[in-house]
């Protein structure tokens, strides 16, 4: 079994208002088969025994499905490995003696909570403004009432890959949530179920996004590079198109 020792520089912050700082921790030898979050577990076990507060971080499935985990590792959300979440990162990606800087996702709209945890409920605020279909669910049970071409379904499916982790916002120099909103808007705009509310949805969601303090997309494409699910900026293009179309139509009305 190969082992490495690492120098960790971790952002510590006691609470929402508190000032934070980086603190250094040296790990003992760790197996390269260990996952990044297991490394934090081990560190926390030590800290607790030494009477120091453990590093707070989010996680749940540890399988890259739930979108709960996330931190900026050496400047990159979810770390150096592409198309994976933080919980899927393993120490084999690092070398003995490496220094690893670990900090929370930073964005005006994501309030820091503690250490590596941030409040991503702003995403909910956006969803609340249209990320759903309001239909009467009581209708006749004919599951084939809505034929949809497989191609549209595939594009909608690609857009629905988004797990809402927030890495796109953290990676964007402007802290824009366009990739997230683009994914959500595309998913519904591509399906017939989403048509009745299509225009209202995109206008409301974009307005809410601005209001919550997310920045604007300047085509830096950082979001697409760090997205663990490979959601592409085509969704941003679609969002822009949808928005223009809706704005145009609402002027006509």
């Amino acid at each position: 079994m190969k082992t490495i020792s690492l120098n960790l520089r971790i952002w510590r912050q006691k609470g929402p208002g508190a000032t934070g700082e980086f603190r250094n921790y040296e790990t003992g030898p760790l197996s390269t088969d260990m996952s990044f979050l297991e490394m934090l577990d081990v560190l926390n076990e030590h800290l607790t025994l030494e009477g120091e507060e453990p590093v707070a971080f989010d996680h749940d499935c540890r399988e890259g499905i739930c979108g709960m985990c996330g931190a900026v590792v050496n400047g990159r959300p979810h770390g150096p490995q592409s198309r994976t979440t933080l919980c899927q990162l393993h120490l084999r990606q690092f070398h003995n003696g490496d220094t690893i800087v670990i900090e929370p996702f930073r964005a005006e709209a994501f309030k820091p909570l503690r250490d590596l945890m941030v409040d991503r409920s702003a995403f909910d605020g956006i969803i609340q403004n249209g990320g759903y279909v309001s239909v009467n669910t009581g209708g006749a049970p004919d599951a084939n009432a809505l034929p949809i071409p497989q191609r549209a379904a595939e594009q909608a499916l690609d857009a629905s890959e988004c797990i809402g982790c927030g890495a796109c916002v953290a990676a964007c120099p402007n802290a824009s949530a366009m990739l997230f909103v683009g994914a959500k808007v595309s998913h519904l705009a591509l399906l017939p179920q989403g048509q009745p509310e299509r225009n209202r949805r995109v206008i409301n969601m974009v307005r809410k996004m601005d209001e919550l303090g997310f920045g604007n997309c300047r085509n830096e494409r950082e979001c697409e590079r760090v997205c663990p699910k490979g959601v592409t900026i085509r969704n941003i293009a679609r969002l822009n198109r949808e928005f223009l179309r809706a704005a145009f139509l609402s002027e006509e009305e």
Partner: protein, 573 residues
């Protein structure tokens, strides 16, 4: 802090969210979840959701009912299986209209694929019945239903953990929850309480379940006086990545992958000569465990190898890309060159809180506990009997989630409020204080790991009387050590260690109940396999197990199985 609601739903997986959708505007409804709602474990479901739409080939709900009953090895309550199958097409239609992007056929209709145990014509041949949204079915349905509940403006309390259930005079009065961020206790006074807290795979060392699945809801219900049903039936998936439990789906073997033991031998030939590596989940799991037990694990250890190398990198990247990327991410291995270490992993709990078809919780005598409901993996209706079929769980969540919600709406106008005593938090407060002030030396991760070893050794897919007795003795000893657990972390907020200490009590309690139930069932049925009683015995055991709390310890009683039209037959595939 005290809150007042008409209804509280604990758990925001698909079961809880689907029930919430029924709540009328204006009702005071709160949703509590230990993790952020869209991170609930339902999001992990990949395979799909079953319903007899008949889009690909002829299919009928009656056939689906039959498969569900047979899959459950006739322990399934057949009235429940009928509801599940008959309501399936409507449930899919509903999800589609809410915006779930199902995969499509060339003609635009919803595509369906084959899945183990789903057949046409009462077992004649496999049928394509599983609707799916790529391999992220659970994820997209969860996102869709969550958007719905956000839209309806229900009050969501994220990262609030249920820590106590308050019953008074045999009916629901409220609950206590701990807010993770602050460590504060909140009392919720409510007329109706729905538990949708999911499974508890975390009692085993390797599981495909997420970290939140610790069964607090189920165990607290038991402590509050509700019996638990069919706890001995635990489903294992044969190919979890060794040590991690992350699933490698059946597709790997479907494409031609096979298992090898430590001698490099293809051992499934000896256990299932005709279908070999494609035998049923329980059969393959037992074969792997036999190899391991007889010293033919890899380097004599506790795993075997899954071999995909002969498929070649092209076929692997074309047909099994997802699986290959998992293997690369978690093990740093390349399946076209390397063997993959696998072992059986705990996947699903058939047992749980007994309910009727409307999600109402049933007491030991079969009567209803007013105001108390359960649905989803934490409940036992029992629609999955002794063994759940793939893709039937998601359907269960949306079909019975809706029914439970509808029943709650009716009951809202009937049930009035029960006064809570002013000392509602005192019990849990005492427990928490003990943990923090303990002079003991026992650490949570250590005790949990010992519990999981015991459960893996004695409570896995192979069971026998001496083993179960030994396991039970060891679990009870560990449970006693709970009194000496020491929580070192003194923080009030974000105290994960304290959370884990509370969860451990549930896990240990549930471990005991699994073993007690397994010990008394002296037959083999579905996922429950007794080496000393290898055959199914309908004469004595065509009945549900109920285990209830007594001062002397858990007591087992039984309840008959509901049989409507399918008389028990041998389960052969």
């Amino acid at each position: 802090m005290t809150h007042r609601y008409d209804a509280v739903i604990v758990g925001t997986g698909l079961a809880g969210l689907r029930a919430a959708m029924e709540m009328p505007p204006g009702a005071r409804v709160a949703l509590l979840s230990k993790v952020y709602p869209t991170r609930s474990h339902s999001g992990a479901a990949q395979g799909g959701i079953a319903a007899a739409l008949g889009n690909e080939e002829p299919d009928m709900p009656e056939w689906h009912t039959y498969d569900t009953v047979k899959g459950g090895d006739y322990l399934t309550d057949q009235d429940a299986a009928e509801v599940l199958a008959a309501d399936g097409p409507r449930a899919i239609f509903e999800l589609e209209h809410l915006g779930v992007p199902f995969n499509r056929r060339p003609d635009g209709r919803i595509a369906q694929r084959a899945f183990g145990g789903h057949t046409r014509d009462f077992g004649a041949a496999p049928v394509k019945r599983a609707c799916h949204a790529a391999d992220r079915t659970g994820r997209v349905v969860l996102d869709t239903l969550y958007m719905e509940s956000v839209r309806r403006g229900f009050r969501v309390f994220p990262e609030f953990s249920l820590v106590d259930i308050l019953l008074r005079e045999g009916r629901v009065a409220g609950l206590v929850a701990m807010e993770f961020a602050t460590g504060e206790l909140h009392v919720f006074e409510t007329r109706l309480l729905l538990l949708a807290t999911g499974g508890f795979g975390r009692v085993y060392r390797t599981t495909s379940n997420c970290f939140a699945n610790t069964g607090d809801g189920v165990y607290l219900a038991y402590r509050a006086g509700v019996p638990l049903q069919d706890m001995e039936f635990v489903q294992f998936h044969p190919t979890g990545i060794h040590g991690l439990g992350v699933l490698i789906s059946e597709a790997a073997r479907g494409e031609g992958g096979f298992l090898r033991n430590g001698d490099g031998q293809r051992f499934m030939d000896r256990y299932a000569p005709t279908i070999r590596d494609l035998a049923a989940r329980d059969v393959v799991s037992r074969a792997i465990l036999t190899e391991i037990r007889e010293g033919r694990g890899i380097q004599g250890g506790d795993c075997v190898h899954l071999d995909l190398r002969h498929l070649g990198s092209e076929r692997i990247s074309e047909k099994l890309s997802e699986i290959a990327s998992f293997i690369r991410i978690y093990l740093g291995l390349d399946p076209s060159n390397d063997l993959i270490p696998v072992s059986p992993t705990c996947h699903y709990m058939m047992g749980g809180i007994p309910t009727n078809l409307d999600g109402q919780v049933r007491a030991a005598d079969g009567s209803i506990v007013p105001g108390f409901y359960a649905v989803g993996e934490c409940a036992c209706i029992s629609v999955h009997g002794a063994n759940r079929l793939g893709c039937n769980s998601l359907l269960d969540l949306v079909v019975f989630g809706r029914r439970a919600g509808q029943k709650m709406v009716k009951d809202l106008s009937l049930l009035d409020r029960t006064e809570l005593s002013s000392k509602s938090e005192s019990r849990i407060h005492g427990r928490m204080k003990r943990l923090v002030e303990s002079r003991g030396e026992v650490r949570v991760p250590d005790l949990r790991s010992r519990m999981q070893s015991v459960m893996n050794r004695y409570g896995l897919a192979f069971r026998s009387e001496p083993g179960l007795r030994q396991g039970l003795a060891e679990i009870r000893e560990l449970a006693e050590q709970c009194a000496f657990v020491k929580v070192e972390n003194r923080q009030r907020g974000y105290n994960a260690e304290l959370m884990e200490a509370l969860e451990l009590e549930s896990l240990l309690g549930l471990s005991e109940l699994i073993l007690v139930s397994a010990l008394q069932r002296t037959e083999s049925r579905g996922a429950h396999y007794r080496e000393d009683h290898p055959l199914r015995n309908d004469k004595d055991w065509l009945k549900h197990t109920l285990v209830r709390a007594r001062t002397e310890g858990p007591e087992v009683i039984h309840r008959p199985v509901v049989i409507t039209r399918f008389e028990p037959k041998e389960r052969v595939y």
